[in-house]
């Protein structure tokens, strides 16, 4: 499935289509130090080659792509595209390359065919050449049946595929893709990669693709890792994996112990770079090529078995990033221990499934349905969330997660079915019922003009905190979320990760019983995402019920139970183990949640009934 470099056939193979040399770019920022978007970055992309540009948010990926297209002028250094200079020969270059920005400019009021026609006109494709090109692109993207549909009515994955088809309308010599698969469902993600590889194999084009998904880096011929504008490393996925060979282990939790408990114990410990939950087990990356760091952290022999694991690109990436951060003077390393301030008595790390505490659970829905006109966004969703549970709503963009979420919080009217939070319908219940709720919206939704402190004070007071209690909680939040240095900064000007932390701080300042988090980790780099999940974990340990949506399938592993949604419908409900079980076959004995999603979406696995767990 994955093509390696030597297999690609092209008569021009090896010819450099993009050469970037010592690129520098800085952006002035109002009221702050200038942002160094790129610092001395060099790279090459050759014909018939897919190069991945990998790095956390703000690494400079988009800046580099935009310089290559001539949309930005570098401060120094050069970008040579097809032998032409990106600054001088911009117009000539534009006719020969294709660029797909993060949000591709599809005309949502035009049909699929009209969008293709429009881009063919814009790119000056000969009328005679169009018909065969259309046929090919439509066939590749699987959009043949939808040529008459309005682009605005396509699913997220289909939109992205149409965007790619439009970008490829005049076969380019170099294809630049900026995070083409963000928020796209796993099935469409695989298809997008298949299309890219078809173009590479059949037309020998060069591809530079920026991505936030680390598993996608494995699909590239070569990977360039960027971090804060600097190139950290470059090489084949295999060479990256080699760097962490012998540093990776998996811990199999004994029966009755949740992997989350073990992960929480390992994460952030000295000598341990990364601890994540994958496939019901805990993956650990260590500093030294030694198992001691892992065993040392498990004195009570929580682990049933510790095995050496095969390294992945992600492991190497985490190691690179951790080193890059620790080499900076005041690295913003996640605190080793997260205190919630919620409860001094963390729950026992036992695998009690919390059932029967209340008949309906803390959050309860039955046949929840939302219709917008004739369009059904959410169709008959039923689930219960129990006290202290982390419940995930999973699915690609457009699956109906956010709509479900908004109905839970009382922000959106329910078309049919019932919803109860803490026994009440939030739309009808008075403001008092909302007192025990914490809510973090998908986009940054605090007051950008107000400072960090003013925001915290406002939300604290909103939930009835006052005087010393308010002051205490604000002090706690400033420390806990590492915001003290930005206390008086307008929150709209905070860097991305800080905004997310402030939003979370505002949501839990009043120590809610139920926490609603809508895509808390979208647009956050892998390090910060881990940090987030550790916090969420610790809240749950303190007895807070957490309902969280995410489009990162692997994050499902952190949930106690989850509901997987696609196109407004429930695909499956259950614990991570139960979900994985649905996709387990003899060929595929160890599936991930993502595999399970694909199997469920393609109908290979039979989804459970309404009640996911027995």
């Amino acid at each position: 499935m994955i093509q390696s470099a030597d297999e690609s056939v092209s008569e021009r193979s090896g010819e450099t289509v993009l050469g970037v040399r010592n690129l520098h770019k800085r952006f002035e920022s109002k009221g702050g130090p200038p942002v160094e978007a790129l610092r001395d970055v060099s790279l090459d992309v050759r014909c018939g080659e897919v190069v991945g540009l990998v790095g956390p948010d703000g690494a400079g990926k988009t800046t580099l792509l935009r310089i290559a297209t001539g949309l930005l002028v570098p401060d120094s250094g050069t970008a040579t595209v097809l032998g032409l200079d990106s600054v001088r020969d911009t117009l000539q270059i534009r006719g020969r390359i294709a660029y797909m920005p993060q949000k591709f400019g599809l005309y949502e009021d035009l049909t699929v065919q009209e969008n293709l026609d429009l881009y063919a006109d814009l790119q000056g494709v000969e009328p005679a050449a169009r018909a065969p090109r259309y046929t090919r692109l439509l066939e590749m993207t699987g959009l043949e049946k939808f040529t008459g549909r309005l682009a605005g009515r396509l699913s997220g994955g289909m939109k992205q595929k149409l965007g790619l088809a439009c970008a490829l309308i005049k076969s380019p010599e170099l294809l630049l893709l900026d995070e083409p698969t963000v928020g796209v469902d796993p099935v469409s993600r695989r298809e997008l990669w298949r299309i890219v590889y078809q173009m590479v194999d059949q037309e020998g084009i060069g591809v530079l693709v920026a991505t936030a998904y680390l598993d996608e880096a494995e699909k590239c011929h070569r990977v360039v890792v960027l971090h804060e504008g600097r190139k950290l490393d470059e090489g084949t996925p295999a060479s990256f994996r080699e760097q962490v060979h012998g540093h990776t282990f998996v811990v199999q939790p004994p029966p009755g112990v949740r992997p989350r408990t073990i992960q929480g114990r390992l994460a952030g410990r000295p000598g341990i770079i990364d601890a994540t939950i994958r496939g019901g087990r805990v993956r650990v990356v260590t500093e030294e090529r030694d198992i001691a760091a892992v065993t040392g952290a498990m004195p009570d022999n929580l682990a049933a078995a510790i095995d050496v694991a095969g390294p992945t690109f992600e492991d190497a990436f985490m190691k690179l990033l951790a080193h890059a951060r620790s080499s900076q003077s005041h690295a913003n390393l996640p605190a080793a221990q997260v205190s919630t301030g919620v409860s001094p008595h963390p729950r026992e790390p036992e695998a009690t499934i919390h059932r029967g505490e209340s008949a309906d659970g803390v959050v309860h829905t039955r046949d929840l349905t939302k219709r917008f006109g004739t369009f059904t966004a959410v169709s008959e969703i039923s689930f219960d969330v129990h006290r202290g549970e982390i419940f995930g709503l999973l699915g690609p963009n457009g699956a109906g997660k956010s709509t479900t979420f908004r109905m839970l919080c009382g922000l959106s009217k329910v078309s049919a079915g019932e919803v109860r939070v803490a026994g009440r319908d939030l739309r009808r219940a008075g403001s008092f019922a909302r007192q025990r709720l914490g809510y973090m919206a998908q986009q940054f939704s605090l007051y950008g003009q107000l400072s960090v402190f003013e925001n915290l004070r406002f939300f604290g007071r909103a939930y009835g905190l006052a005087n010393t209690r308010l002051a205490e909680r604000i002090e706690w939040a400033l420390d806990e979320f590492d915001l003290r240095g930005h206390r008086d900064m307008a929150s709209g000007r905070l860097p991305g990760g800080y905004k997310q932390r402030l939003a979370m701080a505002a949501a839990i300042l009043h120590e809610p019983d139920i926490l609603f988090l809508d895509e808390p980790t979208s647009g956050v780099d892998p390090l910060a995402r881990r940090d987030f999940w550790r916090r969420i974990n610790s809240f749950a340990e303190g007895g807070v019920t957490v309902v969280v949506t995410t489009h990162f399938m692997e994050e499902a592993e952190y949930c106690d139970r989850m509901l997987i949604m696609s196109q407004g419908r429930e695909l499956a409900t259950g614990t991570p183990d139960e979900i994985r079980e649905l996709a387990r076959t003899e060929d595929h004995p160890d599936p991930t949640i993502e595999d399970a999603f694909i199997a469920l979406a393609e109908g290979a696995a039979r989804p459970r009934g309404k009640e996911g767990s027995p």
């Binding site: 908004r406 919080c409 009382g410 922000l411 739309r427 008075g430 403001s431 008092f432 019922a433 909302r434 007192q435 709720l437 809510y439 919206a441 986009q443 940054f444 939704s445 605090l446 007051y447 950008g448 003009q449 107000l450 003013e454 406002f458 939300f459 007071r461 909103a462 939930y463 009835g464 006052a466 307008a490 505002a506 609603f516």
Partner: protein
């Protein structure tokens, strides 16, 4: 109850901070009042100055020169040129070179000496009927004065042709010099309060929608009434502050009299502002973006200014439109402000303006609350 007050106070503080820290909102509070104060104070006047005119004097006598010198000496008129043919008259007026042409026929002095009524023709550019009428009025005035001094042997082309047997002694009350600036500036406070209040309140909800902060507000334990109240207060305070500031400036800068009672002005403005805040919040609840809010506000401002009697008298409008002005709050505050400034209005005398505004305020606030609840809850 105490908790509710605390929450409202929290919201009000937040709203004030949002206005003060948002450059756009700051401009709304400071910009329009200053601009309008000066624009309306200086530019919007019905008084004519510098009326350009030309002369076609076919008589060229001592008498004609004496009449013309009166025009030349008037600050209202400015001589542009002397014409020698009738064709030039048409040309000059066509291209708006002059507003008015004085035509003195050859027979002018002969008729005067003979004791016959003499004719002077005044040709006015009637394209702007208001200006034409005012210019004609000034010209008639000058000619009438000339007449009177000469013992009344001259008759202008204008209506008062007969020898004056009755003498009109006019005295304008409240505005003795009939300065239109008094008329305009006295009511300006109401207009400016409306613009400031409407813009700020119409932006308040849609700003939160646009920035995505609205959901966060709705899931917090606020009641919708509390949110609405907190959104209404800061625009009201800003609007009242601006209006009172301009009232002071009207007296100190433009020398307007302030003959009425200050409490009457404050009460009238407050009631008016409440009625406008209802409209603003209604628009804001309806809009999903700030741009829609602004468009909605201007759609309200334009007709309400024209139908308020601020510049043109309501009595001149057709009857059905006059009825329409009854629901326009600006109509009442314009009248009330003029009464207080020029006529010495007190709370008792402006009561006929107060109660309709109170009724309108109740209606707009109720509908804003209704819409806010239905669009959000």
């Amino acid at each position: 109850m105490a908790l509710a007050l605390l929450r409202i106070a929290t919201l009000v503080v937040k709203e004030f901070l949002a206005i003060m820290k948002d450059p756009k909102s700051r401009v709304v509070v400071i910009g329009p009042p200053i601009i309008q104060f000066f624009v309306f104070g200086y530019a919007a006047t019905f008084d004519l100055n510098n009326v350009r005119y030309a002369v076609r004097d076919e008589d060229r006598s001592v008498e004609s020169r004496e009449l013309l010198s009166r025009f030349r000496g008037s600050p209202t008129f400015r001589l542009v040129g002397e014409l020698s043919s009738d064709r030039e008259v048409g040309d000059l007026i066509d291209r708006q070179g002059v507003r008015l042409v004085l035509h003195i026929p050859q027979t002018f002095s002969r008729d005067l000496h003979a004791g016959r009524p003499a004719q002077v023709q005044v040709i006015v550019d009637g394209r702007n009927s208001n200006v034409a009428a005012v210019a004609l009025g000034y010209a008639s005035g000058i000619i009438a004065q000339y007449n009177a001094e000469r013992g009344g042997t001259l008759a202008a082309g204008a209506p008062n042709a007969a020898r004056p047997t009755l003498q009109l002694v006019d005295r304008a009350w409240f505005n003795p010099n009939l300065q239109s600036r008094w008329f305009i500036v006295s009511a300006l406070g109401g207009l400016i309060a409306m613009i400031v209040v409407l813009l700020l309140s119409s932006l308040s909800v849609s700003r939160e929608r646009e920035f995505g902060t609205f959901d966060q507000l709705l899931v917090a334990p606020f009641r919708s009434g509390e949110i609405l109240l907190a959104k209404a207060l800061p625009p009201m305070v800003c609007g009242l502050f601006d209006a009172l500031l301009l009232a002071a400036a009207a007296v100190l800068w433009f020398g307007l009299p302030f003959r009425g009672s200050l409490p009457a002005l404050v009460v009238a403005l407050s009631v008016f502002i409440v009625s406008v805040v209802g409209v603003g919040l209604f628009i804001s609840s309806l809009s999903s973006t700030m741009q829609q809010s602004l468009l909605g506000s201007f759609m309200f401002i334009m007709p309400s200014v024209i139908l308020s009697g601020f510049t043109t008298p309501i009595q001149n409008m057709p009857q059905w439109l006059q009825w329409g002005t009854l629901i326009n709050p600006l109509r009442y505050i314009v009248t009330a402000c003029r009464e207080v400034f020029l006529q010495g209005g007190t709370l008792a005398t402006i009561w006929p303006q107060l109660w309709p505004m109170a009724v309108i305020a109740a209606a707009t606030l109720a509908s804003a609350t209704w819409l806010f609840r239905h669009r959000t809850a």
